[in-house]
Amino acid sequence: MIRFENVSKIYQVGDETVKALDDVSLSIEKGEFVSIIGPSGSGKSTLMNIIGCLDVADMGQYFLDGAPIENYSEKELAHIRNKKIGFIFQSFNLIGTMDAAENVELPMIYQRVPAKERKRRVEEALKMVGLYERRHHKPNQLSGGQQQRVAIARAMAGEPSILLADEPTGNLDSNTGKQIMALFRELHEQGHTIVLITHDPEVAAQADRSIAIHDGKIRKEVAA
């Protein structure tokens, strides 16, 4: 499903070139729950950006569902993000002027899902995260854990191939963090592919498989 072949990403910082990713090869299969762990500056965010099609590799190839990403235009990348990737961010990234239901609906609007179907899927996704009764609350009326659950519902509503979570528990207290991780495990059991990026070994350990990254290189893969 996800296959990296010798992917490198180079940033130019002043006169210095920094290899954020250095010859990375990995593959993640459908239905897997994989964590990518590394300290800050290790290149894990770059890895996530490339997996999430927010950025493209400078060298090597990235295949998503068997298709190479490098050749796509910006517009095509937007469509791929829309259809195949469900993003979950550390800082939730809900749109503040929209209520929970509208936030969940948004990716489906870009997918041009008909209104009736959108309504049904919003209801389904919010019920799954247990926030349907709060669907008309704005993000600032929700707690951090609730906001993250809305964000997960939003990611799910678009029916993506992969859920891509970037430090999803980073801004939450440990108790709420546990609830969110429980939700991820539940989603995994339902058969969703989840890629979770974290610096926290405890969080990483909850995945089936953990890929450690350091200085842009994959150090080791640990099966849980």
Partner: protein
């Protein structure tokens, strides 16, 4: 997609009502000044044009300025209009007299003329009759007066058969004209009009002789310029090629000059109002730029979850467009109100010019698009990673 973008735009506009209103204010003021000024100028133009039309725009007025050695006689007037383009001809001579009855007296402008004058000037007789040929032939002391003169000097309008003194001389009132809203009726005193046979006026006033000093010719059809050329030839022939002996006055030329003045005025005022619309547009651009920066993170989120450059562009463009169109709508509403108030206060009946409403809507769309494009493009081309990092 467009409907969704419109919903989003309405939400964004409604989420900051004061700011949206202030942004629209520029457009509102621009539209109000454009619509009101141009409507007022058009209204004024309309009433002036009506006045000019009521003067009889298909007639030519000729003044005989010299040519005393070969004076024009009343009897030869008909020979001047043998060409079939001409309809009727009437000599005119004006003087000012005092009209009096036992009831009141007023200064009156008296025109000495013949029967044809009524048709040339499109006068309507309310009661009685106009001057007839026998009146002219017999030098009759008969007078046709305007309605307000009848009311103000005789005390009522139905005065046919009574007498009136013009400079002390008795005249029989044979007709009363219908009041018209001619240009002259707008200036108070010259309003009082009296018409007597040309031959009778010669007796009334020392300064007027049988030599015709001016006359009016009505023209069949609309081609006044052609008629003027023909008349010019006739007169050149009559006055032995002396171009200075006469001058021809073409009323359609005043109408043209007037409408060109009004067009210039409309254009000038419209231009000034257009500038304020443009300034309003810059206000929109300013706010949309601020909005794009404020919502950088939102744009990043939207792009991450699948918004294309096109859909972000559309969202911002529609927001700018809606701001300017809402402003335009409010402006048109206020304009209507202003025109209604002007009509009540000024006792006039101006109407909103539909064409200028169309122009202002078109201009608002243009302003919204042009000034929305830059901020929208700025928002649309943001890189999602950088936009997401923005706090």
């Amino acid at each position: 997609m467009i409907i969704q973008s419109m919903k989003m735009a309405i939400k964004a506009i409604a989420s900051n009502k004061l700011r949206s209103f202030l942004t629209m204010l520029g457009i509102i003021i621009g539209v109000v000044s454009l619509v009101v000024l141009v409507s007022l100028v058009n209204g004024a133009t309309g009433s002036i044009n009506d006045s000019i039309d009521s003067l009889g725009s298909n007639s030519l007025t000729v003044n005989i300025t010299s040519g005393q050695d070969k004076p024009l006689k009343l009897s030869e007037l008909d020979s001047l209009i043998e060409n079939e383009i001409f309809d009727e001809i009437a000599p005119t001579s004006k003087t000012s007299v005092t009209a009096s009855t036992s009831y009141a007296e007023e200064n009156v402008s008296v025109t000495g003329t013949t029967t044809a004058y009524m048709n040339i000037e499109k006068l309507e007789v309310a009661s009685g009759r106009f001057i007839m040929n026998p009146d002219v032939d017999n030098h009759s002391d008969v007078v046709v007066i305007s309605e307000d003169l009848a009311v103000d000097v005789c005390g009522r309008s139905n005065v046919v058969g009574e007498t009136m003194k013009l400079d002390g001389k008795n005249y029989l009132i044979i007709g009363v004209l219908e009041s018209s809203n001619s240009l002259t009726s707008n200036s108070d005193n010259s309003d009082y009009q009296a018409y007597i046979p040309y031959t009778s006026l010669i007796r009334l006033s020392d300064g007027i002789s049988l030599d015709i000093s001016s006359f009016e010719v009505s023209v069949n059809g609309d081609d006044l310029d052609k008629a003027e050329t023909i008349l010019e030839n006739v007169l050149l022939n009559r006055f032995d090629n002396d171009e200075d002996a006469y001058s021809i006055f073409n009323r359609s030329q005043i109408a043209e000059a007037m409408s060109s003045v009004n067009n210039t005025l409309s254009l000038l005022l419209g231009g000034i109002a257009g500038i304020s619309l443009l300034v309003g547009g810059i206000g929109i651009m300013n706010i949309m730029l601020v909005s794009a920066t404020e919502r950088t993170r939102e744009i990043g989120i939207r792009k991450a979850i699948g918004a294309t450059r096109g859909s972000v562009l559309m969202q911002f463009l529609i927001e700018a467009l809606m701001l300017s169109l809402f402003g335009c709508g409010i402006g048109i509403g206020i304009s209507e109100l202003v025109i209604v108030i002007v009509n009540i206060v000024g006792n006039v009946s101006y109407t909103m010019s539909i064409s200028i409403v169309g122009i202002s809507v078109g201009f608002s769309v243009f302003v919204g698009l042009v000034f929305g494009l830059y901020p929208a493009n700025k928002a649309a081309t943001m890189k999602p990673i950088e936009a997401l990092r923005f706090n």
